[in-house]
Symmetry: C2
Subunit: 335 residues, 2 copies
C-alpha cells in the first residue's frame, strides 16, 4: 500500500462557533497492526451534533477530543487486515474510528454488519446511532402512545426525521419544525408529518405551535433547546413527556445559556423532562434495527442523506450541519 | 349566634411581591345552610406557597382566586350545623374552605378526621397536604432508594422538613439548605439531616453543594427553583431524579424567570425532572397518613409549627411565609 493515511486532528478548541482553523489536516502512516488488531479502510464517516461538546475540554458521557489527536467519528469501513479472530478480511464494520483513511482497532466496540441491499452509509444514520436514538427516546423515555400529539424539533435532521416517521408508524399525530421552507415541504410531503413550520420565518414560535397543536403536545422529542424548547414547554399538555436528546442551539455559545422561562409549568402540568443517550439501553437498539430494516424495505421509513465527498471536506460538512445547512443525515464519503 | 363572620377577600392582584393591601377584611353574615349542606366553625387555616400562584389571573391546576371573593385555604374546622347525612354536629373536618370564621359547604372534598392525641392543626401540615406532598415526591416521582444522596431545598419548611425526615427513615443520606443559621441547626440537630447549609451566607451555592455532596446528588426534592435549583442541577449524578414540587423563588416576580443555565447536563447525566402535585395519587396519600401517624408517635418524625393568632393576621403570616420568615409549618389559628 503506497497510499498515505490522511488524518484530521483537533488543532484548537473553538470558542463559540466552530471554525475551519480548529481543524488541521495531516498525513500519517498507514498503521501496522499487532496481535488481536485489525486494520480498517474507512468508507463513510458521520458528523453529528454531539461532537461539538467533545471539542470542549469538559467532562461528559464521552471524553473530550484532545488537541493534536485524530478526531473520532462513527465510521463504516472494510477490514483489510486482521489478526483478530472475530473479524476477517472483507468484513464490514461500524463503530467509533478516526477521521482518517485507515484506522487500527482492537475490535472493541466494533460491530460487523451485513452487505445487503441497503447502502452501507445507512449504518451511520437510519440504521445507526441517529435512528436508534430516535426509537429509544420515543419508546423508553417518552413512552409515546397511539393518538398522542408528538412534536419534533430539528425534524428534518438525522434523528428528527426518524422520530417523526416512527411516531406516525406508532399511530401518533406528528408536528415538527425545521429551518427552511424546503425542509418543511419535505416533512409534510415526503415524510408524512401531519403539520410542520419554518421556525425562522413563523414569527412567534410559541403561538405557531399553539395554532398547530390546539390540544397541546403530549410528547416532545427535543433536539434543539433554547427558544424552541421554551415554546414547546409552554404548549405541553398535562402529564406530557419531553425526551431531551440534544440542545444544538446552545452548543456553539461561549457562555452557558439560561433554560426556558416559566419552568413552573413543569409543576402545574406535571411534566416529565428526561435526558438520555443512545448507549443507555443496548437491547432496545437491537430491537430497533430489526424493525427499521423492515420499515425501510416496506417504504414506511424514508431516509435522506447529504453526502460530502472526501475526508478533506469533513470539517466543512460538520460546521454546515451545526448551522442546519444539511438536508437529512450529513455523511462524509471517505472512499 | 350573635357573632359576625369575619372574612378576608382578595382586594387586588399583586404585581411581584404580595402586599397587605392586596387583601381586605370584611364582615359577613354567618351563612344559613340548606338541604345537604353543613356549617363549619373554622379552627385553623394553612398558608402555603401555591396560594401565590392562585393570586395571579392564570390558568393552572387550581383556578385563580377572584377579586372581591373570599380567599380559600386548607382549613380544619368543627361541624356546628348539619343537613348532610355524611356529617354530624361535632365532627372535625379538613378541606378547602374560606379565610373566614364560618364556612358553608356541601361537604364535597371535606374529610372527617379523628380527634386523637395529635393536635388538629397537624392535618394542615405533617398529616395534611405538605406531608403527603413530601411522601409522594420521594416515592412516586423520585423513587428514592436506601443509600442514595437526597438534597432538599427550603428544608426547614412544611414540606422540606418532612422530606428530609422520611428520606432518613428510608435510609438515604440527607443534605439540605435553609435561609438562616437557626434553621440549619434545627435541620441537623433536631431533624437528623446529615449535612445542611445557609444558602444566604454560604457564598457559591453550587460549590457548597459540591463540598457537602462529594459523590453528587441522586435525588433532589425541589421547592425553590431559581439559583438553588441551578446549583443542584449542576451537582446531580448520572441518572439522578429531580422531583419538582415548587419554585417559590419565582412566585413573586412580575416577569417570568429564566430556567437554570447549562441544561445540557440533563442529557449528559441522563437526568429526570418531573413535576407533580399532591392530588395526583390519592392512594399514596392514604398510605402516607397511616405511616406518618406511627412515625409521629414513635418520635421518628418531628414537626414544628409557627402559629399566627387570629384570622386578621393571615395576610401577614402568608407574606412572611413567602419571605421565609416562618419556622416549620405556618398555621393561622382562627378560633
Amino acid at each position: 500500500m503506497g497510499e498515505i493515511n490522511q488524518q484530521i486532528i483537533l488543532n484548537s478548541r473553538p470558542e463559540g462557533w466552530v471554525m475551519p482553523e480548529n481543524f488541521k489536516r495531516v498525513s500519517g502512516k498507514i498503521p501496522d497492526i499487532g496481535a488481536g488488531e485489525i486494520l480498517v479502510r474507512n468508507l463513510f464517516m458521520s458528523v453529528d451534533p454531539y461532537m461539538r461538546s467533545r471539542m470542549n475540554d469538559a467532562k461528559s458521557y464521552v471524553p473530550p477530543f484532545q488537541i493534536g489527536a485524530v478526531l473520532e467519528a462513527g465510521v463504516v469501513g472494510e477490514v483489510i487486515q486482521s489478526q483478530n479472530p472475530k473479524f476477517k478480511e472483507g468484513d464490514v464494520v461500524v463503530g467509533m474510528l478516526g477521521w482518517e483513511n485507515y484506522s487500527k482497532s482492537n475490535g472493541e466496540g466494533l460491530l460487523s454488519v451485513e452487505r445487503g441491499e441497503l447502502p452501507l452509509s445507512y449504518y451511520l444514520g437510519v440504521l445507526g446511532m441517529p435512528g436508534m436514538t430516535a426509537y429509544a427516546g420515543l419508546v423508553d423515555i417518552a413512552n409515546a402512545k397511539a393518538g398522542e400529539v408528538v412534536f419534533v424539533s430539528a425534524a428534518s435532521g438525522a434523528v428528527g426525521s426518524v422520530v417523526g416517521q416512527i411516531a406516525k408508524i406508532m399511530g401518533c399525530e406528528v408536528v415538527g419544525c425545521a429551518g427552511s421552507d424546503d425542509k418543511v415541504d419535505f416533512l409534510i410531503n415526503d415524510l408524512g408529518f401531519d403539520r410542520a413550520f419554518n421556525y425562522k420565518t413563523c414569527g412567534s414560535i410559541a403561538k405557531t405551535i399553539a395554532k398547530l397543536c390546539p390540544k397541546g403536545i403530549d410528547v416532545n422529542f427535543e433536539n434543539v433547546g433554547g427558544e424552541i424548547m421554551e415554546a414547546v414547554l409552554w404548549n405541553m399538555r398535562d402529564f406530557g413527556r419531553m425526551a431531551i436528546c440534544g440542545m444544538i442551539a446552545d452548543y456553539n455559545k461561549a457562555e452557558m445559556s439560561p433554560g426556558p422561562r416559566g419552568m413552573g409549568i413543569i409543576i402545574q402540568r406535571r411534566l416529565k423532562l428526561q435526558g438520555f443517550i443512545v448507549f443507555d439501553n443496548p437491547a432496545r437498539n437491537m430491537e430497533y434495527i430489526q424493525k427499521a430494516k423492515i420499515w425501510l424495505q416496506e417504504g414506511k421509513l424514508k431516509y435522506h442523506e447529504t453526502v460530502a465527498d472526501g475526508l478533506e471536506n469533513a470539517p466543512t460538512a460538520f460546521i454546515g450541519m451545526l448551522k442546519g445547512e444539511n438536508f437529512g443525515k450529513q455523511i462524509v464519503k471517505i472512499a
